[in-house]
């Protein structure tokens, strides 16, 4: 079955997210949609899936025009979609999520749960997608949640499957498993639209490639195009492939400035989310924490700021024990904190840029004195930061929620880095940020290090970790598997991220990994660092 999009245009207010896009998906192909953040990929697919209505354009299936008024129509037409932000109800079980909308029922709408479980088991066996149908989705790791999403689409007999950035939440090994599933689907004659901005993946799996920039198709390519070519198409200019940075100017015998000792942190259900973690960071050093999302990194960062109670262990900064202190005391002690989810944890969307820039300083001079805020000081500060950090905003009074993701992130970074710090903790510092902003933020982080600050970077993007870290700690299930130097191979770290202790030399376990040169050990410029920008998270929409 072939699918064709013709001249699709979609506007959000004055923003043209899709501008006359043409796209053709042939039967049994894996069609890659490549484009940087905000290019309009998700928007296009949401239109195809009926979540948005296009302002112009047509959708044709096997040559006949198709009207898709909503997901219902899309499903009926055999289109399935795994969304960038999973569409799963967290409080439902796997089986409930999968049957939702397509329930098998007895009389009076009675749910046939047994049947649903059987269907799930059947599909998961057929494609090697293992899930427990009775597990609560909220309890599942993201990788498994993604399997649930895929099963959801397959069980509805999707002939065209859209995968919107499915690899963002996977370990390299899981990515390989996903690719295997995708190939077997292709064998079964189904078409797949695969969205990503990771060039290596594109080259590994795609049959054809369409590149989108700023809402328009800027070109098509085949997998044998070079990465640099693809990157150029995608970004529209020559991209810098490295983070500029000198090796850390610290000797191994320098006293650590920050240390975490035997830290255990419990999650909501009382399980140890962080399980006896210890590490030190010396002044002027960046420790990068790598790991797949959901392995305790969030809890670790929150415990360091004091947002979560510590069950056991100590957190020490410059000799002072921070463990029992409140977040405010820790901030006062000089901890700078960039949380991973800016709109959830860092910004007050309805408040102005100026106010957000003093969110954790509002009550200290010069902004607040004896209970009164000095509005002039707040404004002056904002003018200065907006200039210094190149925050693109209509004015400092604009509600921060209306800024683009990258600029929102710059507000957070500007705020945290504009006061004297003694420790910087940054989680996913460039999530959903464009290339320019990313370079800028990375430069600021390195500059912070170069002033002799200990820095902790938490990122699920290996490229970012490679680009920034002086040492790399890998977290898996709340534990630190190992702390390794930055010239460790990707395979090695990948295995650590998957919980394996690679004793022998790392060997690629899949031929597809061939695109990933095993000898990529250059500490400062690992191959493929150009796609560091693609650490895309959940900020859009």
């Amino acid at each position: 079955m072939s699918l064709e999009l013709r001249g699709i245009t979609k506007r959000f207010g004055s923003l043209v997210a899709n501008d006359g896009i043409d796209l053709e998906v042939r039967p049994g192909e894996i069609h890659c949609l490549l484009g940087e953040n905000g290019a309009g990929k998700s928007t296009l697919m949401n239109i195809l899936y009926g979540l948005y209505q296009p302002d112009e354009g047509q959708i044709l299936m096997d040559g006949r025009e198709l009207t898709i008024g909503g997901p219902r129509d899309a499903i009926a037409a055999g289109i399935g979609m795994v969304h960038q932000h999973f569409m799963l109800v967290p409080v439902f079980t796997v089986a409930e999520n999968i049957m939702l909308g397509d329930e098998r029922t007895g009389p009076l709408g009675w749910l046939d749960r047994r049947r649903a479980r059987r269907d799930v088991a059947e599909v998961s066996a057929r494609y090697g997608l293992q899930v427990d149908p009775d597990a609560l989705v909220a309890d599942l790791p993201v990788g498994v949640q993604q399997r649930v999403e895929i099963i959801k689409a397959l069980i509805r007999e999707a002939r065209v499957l859209i995968l919107d950035e499915p690899t963002a939440v996977l370990t390299p090994q899981e990515t390989q498993e996903l690719f295997a599933v995708m190939r077997s689907l292709r064998e079964a004659g189904r078409s797949i639209v695969f969205i990503t901005h990771k060039l290596k993946e594109v080259k590994a799996i795609a049959d054809r490639i369409t590149v989108i920039r700023r809402g328009t198709v800027v070109g098509t390519a085949t997998p044998d195009a070079s990465e640099v070519e693809l990157a150029g198409l995608m970004v529209g200019r020559q991209v810098r492939l490295t983070v500029d940075k000198e090796p850390a100017a610290v000797g191994p015998d320098t006293e650590p400035a920050f240390s975490v000792e035997d830290l255990t942190v419990l999650d909501e259900s009382g399980q140890a989310a962080v399980d006896g973690v210890s590490f030190d960071i010396r002044p002027g050093e960046i420790l990068g924490i790598a790991g797949v999302q959901g392995n305790g990194q969030t809890e670790l960062a929150e415990a360091i700021l004091g947002l979560r109670p510590v069950a056991e262990g100590r957190i020490v900064l410059d000799g002072a024990d921070l463990t029992g202190r409140s977040p405010r005391q820790r901030l006062r002690a000089g901890v700078g904190y960039v949380p991973e989810d800016r709109s959830h944890d860092a910004l007050v969307a309805d408040s102005s840029v100026a106010e957000n820039l003093v969110l954790d300083l509002y009550d200290r001079p010069p902004f607040g004195r004896r209970g009164t805020m000095d509005v002039r000081a707040v404004r002056e500060n904002a003018e200065q930061r907006v200039g210094e950090f190149d925050i693109r905003t209509a004015s400092i009074d604009t509600p921060v929620g209306t800024l683009s993701g990258g600029n929102q992130q710059k507000v957070v970074v500007a705020r945290e880095m504009s006061r004297p710090l003694r420790l910087l903790v940054a989680a996913q510092p460039t999530r959903g940020v464009d290339v320019g902003a990313m370079e800028f933020i990375h430069k600021r982080i390195v500059a912070e290090r170069d002033q002799g600050r200990p820095v902790l970077i938490i990122s699920t993007e290996l490229d970012e970790i490679y680009g920034l870290a002086d040492r790399i700690a890998v977290m898996y299930r709340g534990k630190i598997m190992a702390i390794v130097p930055p010239d460790t191979s990707r395979e090695h770290i990948g295995l650590l991220m998957a919980g394996a202790h690679p004793d022998g030399p790392a060997v690629p376990d899949d031929p597809a990994e061939a695109t990933e040169p095993a000898e990529a050990t250059g500490a400062d410029a690992p191959a493929g660092a150009q796609d560091t920008e693609n650490a895309k998270g959940g900020d859009d929409e």
Binding site: L305, L307, S326, P327, R328, Q329, R330, L331, R332, Y337, P339, H344, D345, A346, L347, V348, A349, D350, S351, E355, L359, D360, Y362, D363, G368, G371, T372, M373, V375, P399, G401
Partner: protein
């Protein structure tokens, strides 16, 4: 639900010719900015009120019985009924053209409106402040009762000159309401108990406690057979502003001071900054080192204090002739305050406007009842509809075919139960 503040399309510089200015105004009206929507909402609500007036008047409905025979009768009678009623409303609330007698008579309607508005300003501020901190304070009744109890007790026990007695009584009322409101915030911060449940329950507790106290030795007025406490001393009462025959009293000044204070608190103080952050995004507030529990406790404390001032104005002001505690001292103001805050979009200045509008409807509604025989319940319906229409600008714009856009925009932060 972010507020889509329709920017007042900036007029260019330079003096435009008259016609141009007019055209621009017309264009602005058609675009349907908030003030136009509000005016239209009031009109629309009055229109519905008019329908109710017509159907409620048996003489008028009688004429509809032979509508097809002689429609003019029905139309004249309807017009007659509605215009009589609304003229009375206007007379009672704003200006009485028939007031031949004295200057005071001319001012009386305005004085009545202001008197009615005074407690609504306090109450609206209280609810609005809590809203800004992400809390829904339906405990106004309880807090104002506690304020009234405290102010009354000080008012009749403290035998001192006015300069001491009045501030002391006012402060007592403030404290009474604040502690009762603060208790809710404290419980929420400590145990996570939902403020909606706790405030509802505390309303009943305060009401029952009030009944008990009125009958107790400490409060009961031995000279009065009625269920009423001892009256507060003359010295502790809020003085009339413009002579004894106009009811508007110093409570209004207190209310305006409260407006200024609340505005300052929300927009210029560090505490207010914290309250707004806690209300808009508690997670971000926590991450920025603010204590959400402290913010919530303070918000409820101040909100309760402002509600306590409603109690103060009830007891020490001219709302009631008794200047004493009675079982019904709250006069439903705890709930009316919620609507006022909603109409005022939880902003101090908006609250004043909303309180004046509601005060005028209240004062005028009485005149309407007395002079035109229209049930006072109509005023309640009109008030509800105004708030409803203002909250649904799309509906108003749809009805009047205006162009502007934007969904519901009450500017209130309390989103769902999860805050």
């Amino acid at each position: 639900m972010s507020e889509q503040a329709a920017p007042a399309k900036d007029a260019g510089t330079g003096e435009p010719p008259e016609a141009d200015r007019f055209r621009r105004l017309a264009a602005q009206v058609v675009a349907g900015p908030p003030w136009v929507v509000t005016v239209l909402a009031v009109l629309l609500a009055m229109l519905v009120g008019a329908v109710l007036i017509i159907v409620s008047d048996p003489e008028v409905t009688a004429t509809f019985g032979y509508f097809f025979a002689r429609p003019s009768d029905a139309i004249t009678a309807s017009w007659e009924a509605v215009s009589t009623a609304y003229q009375a409303l206007f007379r009672g609330a704003i200006f009485n053209p028939d007031a031949t007698a004295t200057f005071t008579d001319v001012l009386r309607p305005i004085s009545e409106t202001l008197t009615e508005a005074t407690p609504l300003i306090f109450g609206g501020l209280a609810v609005g402040l809590a809203f800004r901190a992400g809390l829904f304070n339906i405990g106004g009744q309880g807090q104002l009762i506690m304020g009234a109890i405290a102010t009354t007790w000080v008012g009749f026990t403290l035998d001192a000159p006015g300069i001491v007695a009045l501030p002391a009584a006012v402060l007592a009322g403030l404290a009474g309401g604040a502690l009762y409101g603060g208790l809710v915030g404290w419980l929420k911060a400590r145990t996570g108990s939902h403020e909606v449940i706790v405030t509802i329950m505390l309303n009943y507790v305060a009401f029952l406690l009030l009944g008990y106290l009125i009958g107790s030795e400490a409060f009961r007025d031995p000279d009065n057979p009625q269920p009423i406490s001892k009256p507060v001393n003359e010295a502790a009462r809020l003085p009339h502003l413009f002579g004894d025959s106009l009811r508007v009293n110093a409570g209004l000044l207190l209310a305006l001071a409260a407006v200024v204070f609340t505005w300052w608190l929300l927009n210029r103080s560090t505490l207010g900054f914290q309250l707004r952050a806690v209300g808009a995004n508690p997670n971000a507030a926590r991450t920025a080192g603010m204590s959400v529990g402290y913010g919530q406790t303070m918000a409820m404390l101040i909100s309760g204090g402002l509600m306590g001032l409603v109690g103060v104005s009830q007891v020490l002001g001219t709302a009631n002739a008794n200047n004493a505690l009675t079982q019904q001292i709250d006069a439903g103001l705890g709930f009316t305050a919620i609507t006022v805050a909603l109409l005022g979009r939880a902003s101090p200045v908006g609250t004043v406007a909303a309180a004046l509008l509601f005060g005028a409807l209240q004062a005028g509604g009485r005149e309407m009842q007395a002079a035109a025989g229209v049930s006072i319940e109509i005023v309640t319906v009109i008030q509800a509809l105004i708030v409803l229409f203002v909250a649904a600008p799309a509906l108003v714009r749809g009805i009047f075919r205006l162009r502007g856009e934007g969904g519901g925009s009450t500017g209130l932060l309390a989103k769902g139960w999860n805050g």
